[in-house]
């Protein structure tokens, strides 16, 4: 997605990502989900900047239970948190933070979630249980959320909506959409399901 070219290109590369002069209200939404569910893909499909990332340090306690890829760190471990940005008309700049949902990321989660509008929880319907942790974190943090099922080609097609809601134990009224994270319009629709829910939480879906 192309962004408006900066009127005064800077000599340094970062000039490409400076905030537009019209930027007023910076807000964020978490794009949360387990590994490989499509967080980066969704952010990439809608972001005006190439997704950037920060290296975040996890506490030692977290590191000790880190058995990802069989690696056990003794001291600290880092996780890359990627993010993208959408400048909207009217001075709003929406940031999307790709947030891993594992329980061991809790302290990092709390910090990133602070002040967020809500969370779009990505779920891979081939492995619903991989999303249980993230749903727990979202509900505990009190963030409003919507669920987006990523459309993977070999996903089971015969889940009904009620079946999925029950399997995920979703709070009543939680918006649920299917989404192809590779497609910008589809990703925007998923974000809109969340934002419309924020505007009118009572709206039955």
């Amino acid at each position: 997605m192309a962004s408006a070219p900066s009127s005064t290109p800077s000599a340094v590369t970062p000039g490409a990502i400076h905030l537009p002069d019209t930027a007023r209200d910076l807000v964020k939404i978490l794009v949360a989900g387990p590994f490989g569910v499509g967080k980066t893909t969704l952010i990439d499909s809608v972001s005006e900047i190439r997704p950037l990332h920060t290296e975040e340090h996890l506490s030692e306690a977290s590191a000790e239970v880190d058995d990802l890829a069989g690696v056990r760190e003794k001291t600290t471990t880092t996780v890359a948190i990627d993010f993208g940005r959408i400048s909207l008309p009217g001075g709003v700049v929406l940031y999307l933070f790709g947030t891993p949902g594992q329980e061991r990321f809790r302290s990092l989660w709390d910090e990133i979630a602070y002040g967020a509008l809500g969370a779009l929880v990505l779920v891979d319907s081939r492995r619903l249980d991989a999303s249980f942790d993230v749903l727990g974190l979202v509900e505990e943090s009190g963030l409003p959320y919507a669920v987006a099922f990523n459309a993977f080609p070999d996903a089971p097609r015969h889940y009904g909506e009620e079946q999925l809601r029950r399997a995920l134990d979703l709070e009543a009224g939680t918006p649920m959409v299917t989404c192809d994270a590779r497609d910008a319009n589809s990703s925007i629709d998923a974000l809109l399901a969340l934002v419309d829910h924020l505007i009118d939480p009572g709206e039955a879906r």
Binding site: V12, T13, P14, L26, L52, G91, G115, L117
Partner: protein, 120 residues
């Protein structure tokens, strides 16, 4: 920041804040906005502070963007930016207070803006 090899931090994270552990003002957030103040850069600034000022040359950045560009942890950029703000070399703007984030007008601007992006 030009000519810096990619993939390697500019300054080791533990050195970047010169041993200062705590910022001197209310904690800057990921989405606090940083901008140059226009004050001339005094000689002798540490490399990490110069790098941050350099990144802000020509426009403002959120804290998290500066951290990504400088390959520093967000916590380190908070400290650097707070120190530069104390010396009036950097201006900071806090994000909207959490209590105001569900303002219906703001949410509507987000929704309308997203709708306007579709099919473009």
């Amino acid at each position: 920041m030009t000519g810096r090899p990619a993939g390697r931090p500019l300054v080791p994270a533990y050195l970047s804040t010169g041993g200062v552990a705590r910022p001197s003002r209310p904690q800057l957030e990921r989405l606090s906005v940083l901008a140059r103040s226009g004050e001339p850069v005094p000689p002798g600034l540490p490399a990490a502070e110069l790098a941050l000022l350099d990144a802000l040359e020509g426009g403002s950045l959120a804290v998290v963007e500066a951290a990504a560009l400088l390959r520093l942890p967000v916590s380190a950029v908070r400290v650097l930016a707070a120190g530069l703000a104390d010396r009036e070399l950097v201006l900071t703007r806090a994000p909207i207070p959490p209590a105001e984030r569900f303002d219906p007008d703001l949410l509507k601007r987000v929704a309308d803006g997203l709708r306007a992006l579709k099919h473009t």
